[in-house]
């Protein structure tokens, strides 16, 4: 009888060892979607133009702005070696404070959002938060759930226009926002910048929000309240010997250029 249970232990051992080996060896996406990164990029590219058109936004660009944004994208990409996306940041001429992520690596930031930031780290923490939504595939997963794969890949311009509208009204849930906040902290830390800067941005948004100016702002309109988010961002653990550096992004020049445009 003892031998029978020895065999059971062998069986459980084989199962446990296999689980451990596979868990260590197999690398699969944390957010498997039915859409490949390539298709997501194509959807994002189509939506990008529609969203600008729908909101009457115009991308602000000149050689200086482009070179600042390109350098920012490069430094972000250098810290995202496993990313499937190439990030494309745009600043648009809107007088409302807003920033949002589109599928496939497109990030739109309004002029007013840039002006709200007093340091380059503040702007980068917002960009990192939006990257978090894209990397964790929150945007595309939600669209697939709400709209369905067939409509999402449709070439009909009316359909894609409606989907773009839906994207704008899309709100992330509590865990998605927290995940994007934590992603921002960890990416900022990787870049050698103060990871808790997002808390400063939240405080400023809270001050603005008290004037009811930010009703539809994705960054703050979803479940977790700002106080709670400020406290968990502030509680983010940083290594003992970590010394925050200053970002090379020239925010003053960027602000000056977008004001002149």
């Amino acid at each position: 009888m003892k031998k029978v249970f020895v065999e059971l232990l062998i069986l459980l051992g084989i199962g446990g060892i296999l689980w451990a080996i596979f868990a260590l060896v197999i690398k699969l996406p944390e957010r498997p979607t039915l859409i490949s990164a390539e298709t997501e990029k194509a959807i994002g590219s189509k939506m990008y133009n529609q969203i600008l058109e729908m909101n009457g936004y115009e991308a602000i660009n000149n050689q200086i702005i482009d070179s600042i944004l390109l350098a920012t994208e490069d430094s972000l990409m250098a810290n995202l070696p496993n990313s499937q996306f190439t990030y494309n940041i745009s600043i648009v001429n809107s007088e409302t404070v807003n920033a949002f992520a589109l599928p496939g690596g497109y990030i739109i930031i309004t002029k007013k959002m840039v002006q709200l930031c007093d340091t380059p780290e503040e702007l980068l923490s917002v960009i990192c938060h939006e990257i978090g939504h894209i990397e964790k595939r929150h945007v595309i997963t939600r669209l697939v759930k709400e709209v369905g794969l067939k409509l999402l890949t449709s070439n009909d311009s009316y359909v894609s226009g409606e989907i773009a509208r839906q994207l704008l009204s899309q709100k992330f849930n509590r865990s998605q926002e927290e995940e994007a906040d934590m992603f921002s902290c960890s990416l900022m830390l990787k870049m050698g910048l103060e990871p808790r800067t997002l808390a400063t941005v939240f405080r400023k948004l809270k001050e603005q929000n008290s004037n009811n100016e930010l009703q539809n702002f994705e960054l703050i309109s979803s479940h977790p309240n700002l106080d709670k988010r400020i406290s968990y961002v502030l509680a983010y653990k940083i290594p003992h010997n970590f010394k925050a550096q200053k970002s090379s992004l020239n925010l003053n020049l960027l602000k000056e250029e977008i004001s002149n445009n």
Binding site: L11, L18, I26, L28
Partner: protein, 161 residues
């Protein structure tokens, strides 16, 4: 432990051989239902066992072996289905632990499938085939003499001539 004598292939009727084989083939019949809800395979096996257990120890052994060996695979598959559903609904990440368990379950399912086919063929030929652990457990349950004296029990014996 006292056991009933083990029957030889020639002593087992064709009907018993077919019923014993049927225990393994049950999984194919319930596979369609079992894919979304793996627990259906198990329910089908339990029913098969209770319907056929009175048809002789040979059938009982193979039904038990099929039922017991299905337990870990069904439990593993059910855990994975529930885990995936929770992740999908709550938008939790599919961690390496999940993928590791999924691949382990795939291996266990393949091994279970191969062993079941071999078990079915052997049962059809009136043979015994013992899976690791489950084979011995089923054999003990089917062939152990339940009214046999226990090891520490005093037993009267005739004089030795």
């Amino acid at each position: 432990m006292e056991l009933y004598p083990i029957p030889q292939p020639t002593e087992i009727s064709e009907r018993e051989k077919e019923d014993a084989m049927g225990a393994y083939l049950m999984m194919f019949a319930s596979a369609a239902l079992g894919l979304p809800f793996p627990i259906f395979n198990l329910i089908a096996s339990v029913i098969y066992y209770f319907v056929n257990k009175s048809k002789g120890r040979f059938v009982q052994f193979h039904s038990l072996q099929s039922l017991y060996s299905q337990l870990p695979v069904s439990i593993l598959n059910s855990i994975l289905v529930i885990w995936a559903l929770v992740n999908w609904i709550k938008n939790h990440p599919f961690t390496n632990l999940f993928w590791g368990l999924l691949f382990t379950a795939i291996i266990f399912n393949i091994v279970y499938f191969i062993f079941s086919i071999v078990g079915a063929v052997k049962a059809h030929n009136g043979r015994f085939y013992y899976f690791l652990f489950f084979g011995k457990l089923s054999f003990i349950q089917a062939y152990r003499k339940k009214d046999a004296p226990k090891a520490n029990e005093l037993v009267n014996e005739p004089p030795k001539f």
